[in-house]
């Protein structure tokens, strides 16, 4: 086997050697390097990196009032058991009209990122509307969504998913 390889290598070398003097005139090699774009370094494929520093601060809300509302699968209906939680935040926001909250909707990991973002938005807006009903204006409330990007608990299975289908109230 080895012998044969060496033998065929020798043939290739021989042939390459024989033909090396032949000139190719029919089709010229075309220079296509002129079109290279300008990266950060002159390389056409250059990419300049950007880094974002982590900084996140959340302020205090009402003491003793929970901040998380959970939802059923594929649902954005606010369950009645959360009415006292909503009442507590509404009272606090009324008493502190300078305070602002963000309601962050979240979903479990199943399905697409963008569609889950829209589902999470439905959840945060359900909480926002419940606050609106208690007289809290949208000036104090912003409803946003993280979709499935920020699970409270990692992993899979219904018990995990149930903890991730939620809306969180964050004071600013």
């Amino acid at each position: 086997m080895l012998k044969r390889t060496i033998y065929s290598l020798a043939i290739v070398a021989l042939i390459a050697g024989c033909s090396s003097g032949t000139k190719l005139n029919d089709t010229p090699v075309v220079d296509r390097s002129g079109g290279a774009g300008q990266g950060s370094s002159g390389a056409a494929s250059g990419v300049a990196p950007v880094t974002i520093d982590p900084n996140a601060a959340t302020a205090q809300g009402p003491v003793g009032v929970a901040r998380i509302v959970y939802f059923d699968y594929d649902s954005y209906t606010l369950k009645p058991e959360y009415q006292s939680l909503i009442d507590g935040h509404a009272r606090f926001l009324k008493a502190n009209p300078q305070r602002r909250i963000s309601i962050e909707g979240h979903t479990d990991e199943r399905g697409g990122r963008e569609y889950n973002l829209a589902l999470g938005q439905k959840r945060s807006e359900a909480v926002r509307r419940a606050l609106n009903l208690l007289g809290i204006s949208d000036n104090q409330v912003e409803a946003v969504s993280f979709g499935k990007e920020k699970p409270a608990v990692s992993g899979s299975g219904e018990s995990v998913w149930a903890q991730n289908r939620r809306a969180e109230i964050t004071y600013r």
Binding site: I15, A36, A43, S45, V47, I52, Q121, E142, V144, F146
Partner: protein, 413 residues
């Protein structure tokens, strides 16, 4: 890159072809003359590109390097059952750049099919190799190659999110953005210079437009509520986005330079994931107006939508091929999320994967391949597939989970 490492590109990805094509053209890639001293093995990169397309089969090309200047003995290559042969050379120039040349031979007919040369910095040796693969692919199949295009994707490693730009073979990944908060939905502008994406760095989803070469980024949509799902109009002058500023997730267009958005849909349901047809006349999007998420289409200026998907109760993430013939999307089938391809003219739908958590398909600009995210062995991974699902290649990463691929346009040459 200014300081090019001698070790080429973190080998972040690996290609595993896991299918058999029906007709594959046998091609030999002889070692390029001077390749042993080159930081990139040109012939190996070209061969891997061609094989990943599913349309080529590499044949044994071991032996002495052959350059483009001399006529090879084609009898020998016929014996090796090659139909085509690529020969070439790579030479380091005095200024540090490299001169790459190649020539393609039709072994059967004994014809010279032409060649090209590129003078490139070391960092673009892979790019030059991909351009050779594009040349060969187009000469032999009649279709434009996509090997010199780029793919954007996002990785999550611990609590760090990175937006990457990589060659279409997944190699040569370069970080465009690093953030402690999620990044989703990157999409290339049609000229390949900018990415739009959704970043959560300000504790809510906002849409940025990012010049890849300079790193300059600007806020495109940062309205009250959530801002997401950017899609470039093919002319590059505007984008469609999903905004919740008026309540609910609705579609808007916004000038690429920013400014006041114009509302496209008026529904009390979820309308999101807009994407333009290549001619810019139609927007495909997802809506749950019928009670469950389905794909609809409408004119690019809005108007009354027509439903496109009818089977299944969860159809999302539409992507239309550049030739307008195909719609790729994700459909939930019995709890699994699977990549489907619809032939738009007939409405015929095929599920083309065996995986169960597929996401976010994106067509190669020649409409011949799709890149998508999925889960393999509990990790997020990127795959490419032919439209019939027969040839799949895994772009396997080492560091963290990989997601949200978007295949960029043809590069200017």
């Amino acid at each position: 890159m200014a300081a090019s490492p001698l070790v080429p590109a973190l080998a972040q990805f690996r290609v595993e072809v896991s299918g058999v094509g029906l007709t594959q053209l046998p091609i030999a890639l002889a070692p390029f003359k001077g390749q042993d001293a080159s930081p990139q093995k040109i012939s190996a990169i070209v061969q891997a590109d061609l094989e990943r397309s599913g349309q080529f089969r590499g044949v044994d090309a071991s032996g002495q390097a052959l350059d483009e200047a001399s006529r090879p003995d084609l009898t020998l290559w016929r014996q090796r059952t090659a139909d085509s042969l690529v020969v070439g050379s790579v030479t380091k120039l005095a200024d540090g750049r490299f001169d790459v040349r190649f020539r393609l031979w039709d072994v059967v007919r004994g014809q010279d099919l032409g060649g090209q040369s590129y003078t490139v910095p070391q960092a673009d040796l892979r790019l030059a190799s991909h351009r050779i693969a594009d040349y060969v692919y187009e000469k032999l199949t009649g279709e434009k190659g996509i090997f010199s295009t780029r793919i954007a994707y996002v990785t999550k490693g611990g609590s760090r999110y990175s937006l990457w730009v990589a060659d279409a073979d997944g190699e040569n990944a370069q970080a465009a953005l690093a953030s402690p908060e999620p990044i989703i939905s990157p999409v290339w502008s049609s000229n390949g210079s900018q990415l739009a994406y959704v970043s959560f760095e300000s504790r809510k989803p906002v849409v940025y437009v990012h010049n890849v070469a300079s790193g300059q980024r600007r806020l495109l949509a940062n309205f009250r509520g959530s801002n997401s799902a950017p899609a470039w109009a093919p002319d590059g002058n505007s984008l469609a986005v999903t905004l919740s500023r008026d309540g609910g997730s609705q579609l808007y267009t916004i000038a690429a330079s920013g400014g006041e958005p114009r509302r496209l849909t008026q529904s009390s349901s979820i309308d999101t994931e807009p994407t333009y047809s290549a001619d810019g006349s139609t927007i495909y999007f997802v809506s749950d107006r019928g009670g469950a998420p389905q794909i609809y289409k409408m004119g690019a200026n809005g108007g009354s939508p027509t439903r496109v998907t009818f089977s299944g109760s969860y159809n999302i993430s539409p992507s239309v091929s550049g030739d307008g013939r195909w719609l790729a999307y994700i459909s939930r089938v019995g709890g699994a999320f699977k990549l489907h391809v619809m032939e738009l003219a007939t409405g015929n739908v095929t599920a083309i994967t065996d995986t169960t958590a597929d996401e976010n398909p994106s067509f190669a600009p020649n409409s011949k391949l799709i890149v998508y995210a999925t889960q393999l062995g509990g990790r997020e991974a990127l795959m490419t597939t032919t439209l019939d699902g027969k040839i799949k290649a895994r772009l396997a990463g080492q560091a963290g989970d990989i997601r949200e691929p978007d295949w960029g346009p043809f590069q200017k040459q």
